[in-house]
């Protein structure tokens, strides 16, 4: 059973045109059909406006498709209630964003704990779980710092710790290195590759070929459709540039 299986996925945004008072339609995603197996590391690559972010939002249960089918772990997502969708986002998915999205004036530890608040994990285990995740990304020494005191790379590693604290089966990373210098970007990519090595399915959104080459497979998206499905033979390893 494929981890993710999409057939003819389409997304149309309807907006009101202030000039003509007529409804305008924007096709963000024209057609997407592919499947992703468990443990894969897939980069979705394309220029801005190609529909890759829309695709990620749909795959991550943050948005619904206008038409087409999406099977997540074999089940049609339209059968999920909103509560169930929120629960799956919480327990099976991890999110890493370009803008980090850490809570300001809140310590690294509390930021990493955030998904635990909405989980079934009992509160007494929260600290241990969060500290384990922070250890994995190598930020134990920064545990009581607030985001404003961290570098961009460190912030993104906090976000990674937050994404993996509930040991999700799949991690979505939306331009995770987009706001980082190349050195910090390397560290973040190594952390993501490590997660894949440990069996997490990774879906990475990027517009940079160099970032996409860390994946095992690249889906090229253009004008709202998957243009090409490419297997990477010589995967780029981020290890060389990683520094704690």
């Amino acid at each position: 059973m494929a981890h993710i299986d999409v057939q003819g996925l389409k997304k149309v945004y309807r907006g009101e045109d202030s000039q003509s008072k007529k409804g305008t339609e924007t096709v963000a995603l024209r057609e997407a059909t592919f499947s992703i197996e468990s443990g894969e590391f897939v980069a979705i690559m394309g220029p801005s406006g190609s529909g890759k972010s829309t695709l990620l939002h749909i795959l991550g249960f943050l948005d619904d498709p206008t038409s087409g089918t999406y099977l997540f772990e074999g089940k049609d997502v339209r059968k999920y209630t909103h509560e169930e969708a929120a629960h799956i986002r919480n327990s099976k998915m991890g999110f890493i964003f370009q803008a980090f999205n850490l809570l300001p004036k809140t310590s690294v530890l509390e930021n990493v704990k955030l998904p635990l608040l909405y989980s079934k994990v009992p509160e007494r285990e929260w600290n241990t779980r969060a500290k384990e995740a922070i250890e994995i990304v190598g930020l134990t020494s920064r545990i009581n710092h607030e985001p404003a005191e961290l570098s961009g790379g460190e912030k993104q590693r906090v976000a990674i710790a937050r994404a993996l604290v509930l040991r999700p089966t799949i991690i979505f990373a939306d331009e995770p290195t987009g706001n980082l210098d190349s050195k910090s970007g390397q560290a973040v990519m190594e952390a993501i590759q490590n997660l894949n090595d440990q069996g997490h399915t990774i879906i990475l959104i990027t517009h940079e070929t160099s970032t996409a080459e860390h994946a095992k497979r690249v889906l090229h998206v253009r004008d709202g459709a998957v243009e090409r499905d490419e297997r990477i033979q010589n995967r780029r390893q981020a290890k060389a540039g990683y520094s704690k």
Partner: protein, 428 residues
């Protein structure tokens, strides 16, 4: 998936995997990050709640003071007066009516007529000038019988009180109010001295203690036997009033009825409209004064209630700003698995924590202020003002503040809960 009608009942909101203390701590942390804004929001609630506490505490204090003073006069006291009950300032002349005479006193004193009367005191009063040597002072002459001592719990600081023998013998003896004694004698010895009133010399037998403010001020009184007053001072045979004390609180109404019947029989009155006397009880007075302070407290409390309402709208405004400001946070929390319930709960808790904090501070301030004011009032006015702890208002204040948070926090919280995660994440 991102937009659906919110259908959350409050009971469901409470059920959550997050523990209560953690939720409260989260709310407190988020309020701490906006200290000045939280403080200003709390201030509105603090003012509203503390005014409610202050008003009800001071209202209760005033009521107690008034009731205590009336109680001091004896709650079982019934006053029979001549003429028609005054209904306005123009009826004052009725006080000088001469319809109550000694035969009425005798009729009322008969046990078979008014069985529940304990003490009966005939009173004749009027203004006069008292003189001792070269000193003169305007006094109120109270011609009374010795039983007045029991009704008003009067004691003498010096000498003795009037006696039964003085009344029957029409003796020219007097008991002085504290101010009269001071004005005429200063620090001089008074017992046995003679004071002249309307060319009649009175031997002073006793002095009353200083009473201060009370409804009947005996400080300027010149107490003499009523028989003496009628015969030698005023020269008339009628009485200004008769004070009757019922034997218990439960027999007051019965006694009033008995006195009315006795008086009508004595005056041969069949039509109540023709009554040439009227009866007042201390209970009536207490009741009407109690009603006045109740109405006043209620009025002032509703003013405070309005300020609470305004504070509630302030809370709503602040929470709406907070929801807009934290659009990204809401989106993030949803992406990480928060349900609409979780978000609704989070913002509702913040509102309730805000108002409950304001409520607790308001209660403490209100109690402190009303205690201070009661101390100041009793010192400055020299009255027995007792601080009364407003338990009812405290409980109402706590419930009200939490309620304001719930009601005015609900709309912003719902707005927050309904935000779509991607819209929220895109928000800059």
């Amino acid at each position: 998936m991102s937009e659906f009608k919110i259908d959350v009942k409050l009971k469901q909101v409470i059920q959550n995997n997050m523990t209560f203390t953690y939720t409260i701590r989260t709310a407190l942390r988020s309020l701490r990050t906006n200290k000045s804004r939280s403080f200003l929001t709390i201030l509105g609630i603090v003012i509203g709640i503390s005014s409610i506490i202050l008003i009800s505490s001071l209202g209760a204090g005033a009521q107690n003071l008034i009731l205590d003073q009336i109680q001091g006069l004896g709650s079982k006291t019934i006053v029979l007066r001549p003429g028609k009950e005054p209904e306005g300032p123009s009826d004052v002349a009725q006080i000088f009516s001469d319809s109550i005479k000694l035969q009425d006193l005798n009729a009322v004193m008969r046990k078979s007529n008014v069985p529940h009367a304990d003490n009966i005191v005939p009173v004749v009063f009027g203004a006069a000038t008292a003189s001792y040597g070269s000193e003169t002072y305007s006094v109120t002459i109270f011609g009374v019988s010795e039983s007045i001592q029991e009704i008003f719990d009067m004691e003498v600081t010096e000498g003795v009180f009037l006696t039964d023998d003085d009344v029957r013998g029409k003796s020219s003896v007097a008991v002085l109010g504290a101010t009269v004694k001071e004005e005429l004698f200063g620090d001089e010895e008074v017992i046995g001295k003679r004071v002249r009133v309307r060319n009649q010399a009175f031997r002073i037998v006793g002095v009353l203690p200083k009473k201060g403010q009370s409804l009947i001020n005996f400080d300027k009184a010149f107490l003499i036997p009523y028989t003496t007053a009628q015969e030698y001072v005023f020269g008339y045979k009628y009485l200004s009033e008769i004070i009757i004390e019922a034997d218990s609180d439960t027999t007051i109404d019965q006694t009033v009825a008995d006195i009315t019947a006795t008086m009508r029989e004595s005056h041969r009155i069949t039509d109540p409209e023709e009554d040439d006397f009227y009866i007042e009880t201390q209970a009536d007075l207490a009741k009407s004064l109690g009603t006045i302070t109740d109405v006043l407290t209620l009025f002032l409390s509703s003013v405070a209630g309005i300020s609470l309402f305004v504070a509630g709208i302030g809370i709503m405004n602040i929470m709406l700003v907070s929801v807009t400001e934290r659009t990204r946070e809401i989106g993030l929390r949803k992406a990480l698995g928060a349900t609409e319930k979780n978000i609704l709960q989070q913002f509702l808790y913040e509102a309730v924590v805000l108002t409950a904090t304001g409520g607790v501070i308001g209660i403490m301030l209100g109690i402190t202020f009303s205690f201070l004011i009661s101390v100041i009032l009793s010192q400055a006015l020299n009255v027995a003002w007792n601080f009364s702890f407003p338990i009812g208002a405290t409980i109402i204040g706590l419930i009200m503040s939490a309620f304001v948070g719930l009601v005015f926090g609900l709309y912003p919280a719902r707005k927050a809960a309904q935000k779509s995660p991607i819209e929220a994440l895109r928000y800059e």
